[in-house]
């Protein structure tokens, strides 16, 4: 079995709060510098910057999971990842359908642009990406799993925009593939205060908005190879695959 270093929560230039330095080239370069093997691209409510990064990652030896950081109706942030372009595009349509039609003001929130490998702007999102979808967390979880995706509530330890801040506690019947904690806590420290979550799998990620913070914290995936199916196995803890989080 091999150990792979993963940071599954990275924003790009497309997120209004993502630094303009968060281009595909810079993200892959930073990931390599930090010895990451596996990264997740998770812009707010959009998957539109991921394909370019995935393509670049293939050439540079970084395995890229494409997805988004979805804002549920309750304003809980959740990571979602998909294996195929078809599933990713289907989920993008779902995001387009359920994101409210509120215009972004770049002066207030920042630019929302996608760029190509040469850092040329190829798309600008007009709608404000940090709005909440009109769908509940349960509905979004169902949608992600219907597309055979991975569903991970983000930074659950945080006092804002986390499932715990918004809903008080994690509903027992919500089907999560893991829970993400931020750099501010250890898994042990978090579980001391949240004993009811001890049977969950945890990942830790950077939530980086600038290149320097990519890989600042990470998760070890112990698995055979770099593939979506292996990541799922590691999260489920099957066939001796596992996830190791501090």
């Amino acid at each position: 079995m091999n150990q792979f270093r993963a940071d599954l929560h990275i924003h790009t230039v497309l997120s209004p709060c993502g630094d303009l330095e968060m281009s595909p080239t810079n993200i892959i370069r930073a990931a390599k510098n930090k010895q990451l093997d596996l990264i997740g691209i998770t812009d707010h409510n959009s998957t539109r910057q991921c394909a370019v990064i995935q393509e670049l990652g293939k050439r540079e030896g970084i395995f890229v999971l494409c997805g988004a950081e979805v804002t549920t109706k309750e304003e809980a942030h959740c990571l979602a990842f998909f294996e195929t372009d078809e599933a990713l595009n289907n989920f993008q349509e779902y995001l387009d359908t359920h994101l409210p039609d509120i215009k972004n003001d770049p002066d207030l929130f920042g630019y929302q642009v996608a760029v190509d490998e040469e850092d040329e702007i190829c798309y600008e999102e007009e709608r404000l990406l940090i709005s909440a979808l009109d769908q509940s967390i349960d509905k979004i979880e169902e949608k992600v799993h219907a597309l055979n995706g991975i569903f991970i509530p983000a930074h659950v330890n945080k006092g804002k925009n986390s499932i715990i801040s918004q809903l008080g506690f994690i509903p027992m019947d919500l089907k999560t593939d893991a829970l993400e904690i931020s750099k501010h806590v250890s898994k042990e420290g978090f579980l001391l205060k949240n004993k009811y979550l001890k049977s969950n799998v945890f990942i830790k990620s950077s939530d980086a908005h600038i290149p320097e913070l990519i890989g600042e914290v990470f998760t070890i995936f112990e698995m055979e190879a770099l593939s979506f199916a292996e990541v799922v196995k590691a999260l489920k803890g099957i066939d001796n695959r596992k996830v190791i989080t501090e």
């Binding site: 309750e74 967390i137 349960d138 006092g159 801040s165 918004q166 809903l167 008080g168 506690f169 509903p171």
Partner: protein
């Protein structure tokens, strides 16, 4: 004041948990962060919110709140209604915003 009197005075919609209309209101708490309500609401208070997830009922029950008012014509989710019936805590509704309905209730409770 009983929940039923408030329903009558403000013309609130009763979604579920009619058994709870007999509860006495000891004050109010307005918040959409369930973690905040869990930490700071007191027993007997009426909770004004726009959250409709079933965890709303779990927290209302845990804190022994007198009733929940959903603002802006929001409607409770199906499993939230089921739990409201089970717990005997009413879910009420209004088309007003949290600011207006909170103000009216504050005045009624402090007359």
């Amino acid at each position: 004041m009983k929940v039923s009197e408030l329903v009558e005075k403000l013309g609130l919609k009763v979604f579920s948990g009619k058994e709870g209309l007999d509860r006495e209101i000891e004050g109010g708490y307005t918040s959409d962060l369930l973690s905040d309500v869990m930490g700071h609401a007191d027993a007997g208070q009426l909770w004004i919110t726009l959250q409709t997830h079933k965890n709303v009922m779990a927290i209302a029950s845990l804190k022994d709140l007198s009733a929940i008012i959903l603002v802006k014509d929001f409607e409770p989710e199906t499993d939230c209604i089921a739990q409201s019936e089970e717990e005997g805590i009413a879910i009420l509704g209004t088309n007003e915003e949290a600011f207006e309905i909170s103000g009216k209730i504050y005045n009624l409770l402090n007359q």
